[in-house]
């Protein structure tokens, strides 16, 4: 593969991911507002926000780790997006999808979070640190059912590669959510937690402005982080779609599928009240774990 | 029951009884002096057993005194008429050893009496467990 080709596709994919992700965020704000009987901001509001953050002149500098934190986030987000196959069969959008697999993706995710946590830590804001500890605790809750679902899928299809999974689904014209329903259910249940949305939003605690990991970031840092967050969100959605819903062969189809999943996340978030961290962990280790175990049994028996 | 059997029962019985009495005194008497006496009795019993075992019916003491030699003429004949000398020699040793032990025991009793102001063995129990 040509290196320039690769660079180009990477830039295109990143841009697309950025645009889609930010738009999704706007849509979410709108939907949430509507559900709460508010008018809500326009859908493009998040673009404006990011633009505003980037154009801010002054910058609060807390130290090296604080400076680097957004970079960890965005490096992680873009790399994951590049690894997750977005377009099945497309040579151009292949990116790095043959150079990584599910385990790598799973392990890349904390890369950004660790960077953010370190940056947060250096600011000295205790509330931010509390947010980080909540987030990490919740990670234990959400990761285990999710990884179990993924392992069930991996073992069932004898592959750890996402690309392979997409290929298998495309070739057999089936979606894993139908062939491995329990794995799908388990993953679906923990999905809101992975987006820090729904009942699992105690980490960022959007209602309490002062706390949450990102409260000490402003200006260009926050802008970078928001961009990274939106790209990361899209990457995660794509991953979910790739694994369970057959991936896609064109961007439109991908947007439909990812948006459906995202809609589900938004809906759950609107319906469910926020949980405390330990409640969240217990809930995540409730039904999702049962589903995951059922998925294992399914793999073991069939 | 022959004469010999009666003698046998008497001597063995007496000796073993002495040993038993000695042991009994050692094990049950509270007084240190009595315990030492018990030890002595025990020794006596053992010594008596030795002598008893060394005895051979109708034979004389193992001394080749002129009178004995005169009676039996040869040493060999005299030797045939004598009891076993070995147990007697052993008893001599045993008695002396018994004496030594008793002396030491009595000395210890004195020490104990000085130290504890009692001869009751039950009260002398500084060392235990």
């Amino acid at each position: 593969m040509n290196i320039w080709n690769l660079l180009l596709s990477a830039i295109v994919t990143t841009l697309l991911g950025f645009i889609i992700g930010v738009t999704y965020m706007g849509i979410r704000r709108k939907i949430v507002a509507l559900a709460q009987n508010r008018y809500g901001p326009p859908i493009y509001q998040n673009f404006l926000d990011i633009l505003k953050f980037w154009s801010k002149e002054s910058n609060i500098y807390h130290g090296v780790m604080h400076h680097l934190a957004p970079l960890w986030m965005i490096a992680m987000a873009i790399t994951i997006l590049l690894i997750v196959p977005t377009q099945y069969g497309s040579k151009f959008f292949e990116n790095l999808s043959f150079n990584g697999d599910l385990i790598l993706i799973l392990y890349l995710m904390p890369f950004g979070q660790l960077g953010m946590a370190l940056g947060v830590g250096q600011t000295g804001n205790p509330n931010s640190a509390i947010g980080v500890t909540r987030g990490l605790s919740l990670l234990v809750g959400s990761e285990i059912p999710f990884i179990m679902a993924l392992i069930a899928v991996m073992i069932q299809y004898h592959t750890t590669s996402v690309t392979d999974l997409v290929r298998i689904q495309q070739e057999h014209h089936t979606w894993i959510m139908f062939s491995s329903p329990f794995a799908f259910l388990a993953a679906l249940c923990v999905l809101p937690a992975m987006f820090h949305a729904g009942p699992y939003e105690v980490i960022i605690a959007p209602a309490e402005l002062a706390s949450g990991p990102m409260s000490e970031f402003g200006g260009k840092y926050l802008g970078t982080m928001m961009s990274a967050g939106s790209i990361f969100m899209f990457a995660k959605l794509t991953l979910f779609v790739d694994v369970f819903m057959g991936g896609s062969t064109n961007w439109l189809w991908l947007i439909v599928k990812t948006f459906t999943v995202y809609l589900f996340v938004i809906a759950v978030g609107i319906i469910m009240p926020r949980l405390r961290t330990e409640q969240a962990i217990r809930r995540l280790w409730g039904w999702p774990l049962v589903f995951a175990i059922l998925a294992f049994i399914q793999v073991a028996l069939f | 029951m022959s004469n010999l059997q009666i003698l046998q029962i008497t001597f063995y019985g007496a000796a073993i009884l002495l040993i038993a009495i000695g042991l009994y005194a050692v094990v049950t008497k509270r007084n240190l002096i009595k315990i030492v006496l018990g030890l002595s009795i025990m020794d006596s019993g053992v010594n008596l057993l030795f002598i008893t075992v060394g005895y051979i019916s109708h034979k004389t003491a193992p001394i080749f005194s002129p009178s004995v030699m005169a009676k039996y003429k040869t040493i060999h004949a005299a030797a045939q008429a004598m009891v076993d000398p070995v147990p007697q020699a052993l008893v001599l040793t045993a008695i002396v050893i018994g004496f030594g032990v008793t002396a030491v025991a009595l000395a210890l009793v004195v020490r104990l009496y000085r130290h504890h102001n009692t001869t009751n063995i039950d009260e002398i129990r500084n060392l235990k467990w």
Binding site: P70, P110, S211, K220 | W129
Partner: protein, 612 residues
């Protein structure tokens, strides 16, 4: 002259001379120590003739010294650590008394480790094992701190349990195989009965498991690791614990997989997995950096044991790789903690605050090590984790892999706990005077950190040796590439691309962000923060360190409810009480004793008919 003997002589003789050298003057001793460290290291890497075998006839046994490529790799780990730790020790141990004693034991224990690795027969292995044990025990109690006796005794008791089961196994081998040679033993083992195999194997595993801190036998480890001076702990956790791993590797692979009891390997793997999970859980509630890292060591060793227990080609590969890696990064972490201890005077999370600006290099090396520990790409830790998980998934051990994942995810918690507790958070006046550690301390740490970074993208550097040692364990034809990892199903990842992507994006944005933000940046203190409009005053400190993971603790309260230590304590107390009662047999009354004699005699009289 046999090069193996020369190496041992360098270490043991160097140890004895070090004692006297330090008694002459500290500087003489320091120079000697570094000299010995480098000499041993260079000699090992450069001059050691692996093919040499030495047989010593002693006391009716043949003691064999022979190195193979499996043990060589562990020796390499020691050889890398030894000079670095020696350098690090110079400033770290400044001002301590009895340095000669300390370093003598230090070098003895290193010599013991090399002896273990060189052992060609079980007796040699055991002798050096015990030398290593007692020298490390004496180092554990070296500081004479308040709880040193308790910790030392605990370490010693568990070491003895291990050593004794090892010894039992060895004598059983001696009696049944009629040879103590290790290779001979593995050769003839398949011919022996299942019972023998299981018995000897379990005993050996208990023996090695103690040093590898496998779960029910781990009790000593957190205390011992945290009580010992940190420069030794880095060897202790980094290299000495690997001796247990070395033994487990030998046993599991040879005993179970080459003589057909794979179930036992599964059990070992399970022990490792459970150790990993529980130790991680305990690590994240610790209040002291040393103890946290000590528990973390236990957890990490659990992974390695699990990897070796699974026993497929990839998992063993991963196990060995992780073992070497753990030796490096855990040594580095303990060195960092030692540096903090030395500079700031404490390692307690509730006292330490925000040392990042004071000790940036220490922070950097600690950060790298923590990233490696957490297994986050693109650093080397991930490579090991990836191979481990893939090997388990591909071989169908999906329950164990979930446990390991759980441990790994929870591992992020304590990793952050450590970094935050020591280096981050609000600054405190108390630590204003703190300076970066002596270059002798930071340079070894940074060297290790650098190596760990490089190893992430180019793990092939290490794979070369591991592949060679795999052949020694009976896994032939192990292939490897410089930076492409392949699992048993044929899927692969390319670390170069991943690292490149991460680095490019990172650097790109770094340039942009720095360019854009640098000019108007306003440097602020950690007190200048946004706390709901109530910025803390200079006197207040809002550092967050108590009950760090309280939600987590609440959620997993059921795990923390049970612990093995009280069980051991109760058992020990039971034994003591029993004998407290029994000793009343000796009433102190002479007549009672006399009665015993009579009773004994009477009993013998009673059974007289049975004596023939």
């Amino acid at each position: 002259m046999n090069t193996l003997v020369v190496l041992l002589l360098i270490l043991f003789g160097g140890g004895i001379i070090a004692y006297f050298a330090y008694n002459i003057h500290k500087i003489v001793g320091d120079i000697w120590l570094v000299l010995v460290g480098f000499a041993a290291s260079i000699y090992y890497i450069g001059y050691l003739d692996v093919s040499q075998v030495l047989n010593i006839h002693l006391a009716g046994f043949v003691l064999t010294l022979a190195l193979n490529s499996f043990s060589w790799i562990f020796g390499l780990l020691i050889a890398v650590l030894l000079p670095l730790v020696a350098l690090y020790s110079i400033p770290y141990m400044k001002g301590q008394d009895r340095l000669g004693w300390f370093y003598m034991l230090f070098l003895f224990s290193v010599g013991g480790m090399y002896g273990i690795l060189m052992a060609g027969d079980w007796l040699t292995l055991f002798i050096f094992w015990e030398i290593m044990t007692w020298s490390s025990y004496l180092i554990v109690i070296y500081r004479r701190s308040e709880d040193a006796p308790r910790v030392g005794l605990k370490y010693l008791i568990f070491s003895a349990i291990g050593a004794y089961s090892l010894l039992t196994a060895i004598v059983l081998i001696g009696a049944n195989v009629h040879s103590l040679s290790i290779s001979k033993f593995f050769e003839v083992l398949p011919m022996h009965s299942l019972g023998f195999k299981v018995l000897v194997g379990s005993l050996m595993l208990i023996g090695f498991g103690v040093k590898a801190a496998v779960m029910p036998l781990h009790v000593w480890a957190p205390d011992a690791y945290s009580t010992t001076p940190m420069n030794y702990t880095s060897m202790f956790s980094g290299a000495l614990s690997k001796m247990g791993i070395y033994g487990i590797g030998l046993i599991v692979i040879n005993l179970y997989y080459h003589s057909g009891i794979s179930l036992a390997g599964e059990i070992v793997a399970w022990f490792g997995a459970i150790t990993a999970v529980l130790a991680t859980y305990y690590a994240l509630i610790q209040k002291d950096a040393k103890r946290l890292m000590a528990w973390s060591s236990v957890a990490q060793l659990g992974y390695i044991v699990a990897g070796l227990g699974i026993g497929t080609k990839l998992s063993v590969f991963a196990g060995i790789y992780l073992a070497v890696l753990h030796g490096l990064f855990k040594a580095n972490l303990f060195m960092a903690i030692g540096a903090v201890e030395r500079q700031a005077g404490t390692t307690n999370f509730s006292e330490l605050r925000a040392l990042i600006r004071k000790m940036p290099w220490t922070f950097f090396s600690a950060l790298i090590s923590v990233i490696v520990l957490a297994g986050i790409p693109p650093l080397s830790g991930f490579v090991g984790k990836w191979m481990l998980y893939e090997s388990m998934i591909t071989s169908g051990h999906y329950v164990i892999v979930v446990f390991l994942f759980l441990a790994s995810v929870a591992g992020f918690l304590y990793a952050f706990r450590f970094l935050f507790g020591v280096f981050l958070g609000q600054e405190e006046k108390e630590f204003e005077h703190v300076k970066e550690a002596n270059p002798f301390m930071t340079v070894p740490m940074l060297l290790i950190a650098l190596f760990l970074i490089v190893l992430g993208t180019f793990p092939g550097i290490m794979f070369k040796y591991i592949a060679r040692s795999m052949a020694d364990l009976g896994f032939y034809g192990v292939t490897y590439k410089m930076s492409v990892l392949t699992n048993d199903w044929g899927q692969s990842i390319n670390m170069q691309y991943i690292a490149a992507s991460l680095v490019i994006v990172f650097v790109l944005f770094l340039i942009v962000l720095t360019w854009v933000a640098y000019k108007n940046s306003r440097n602020v203190t950690t007190k200048d923060i946004h706390t709901s409009g109530e910025p803390p005053s200079e006197e207040d400190n809002y550092h967050f360190s108590e009950n760090f993971y309280r939600p987590f603790q609440r959620a997993f309260a059921f795990v923390y409810k049970y612990a093995i230590t009280p069980v051991y304590n109760e058992f020990a107390r039971g034994i003591e009480d029993f004998f407290q009662y029994v000793r009343r047999l000796y009433t102190g009354n002479a007549q009672t004793y006399a009665l015993y004699v009579l009773l004994f005699l009477a009993i013998l009289f009673l059974i007289a008919k049975n004596i023939h």
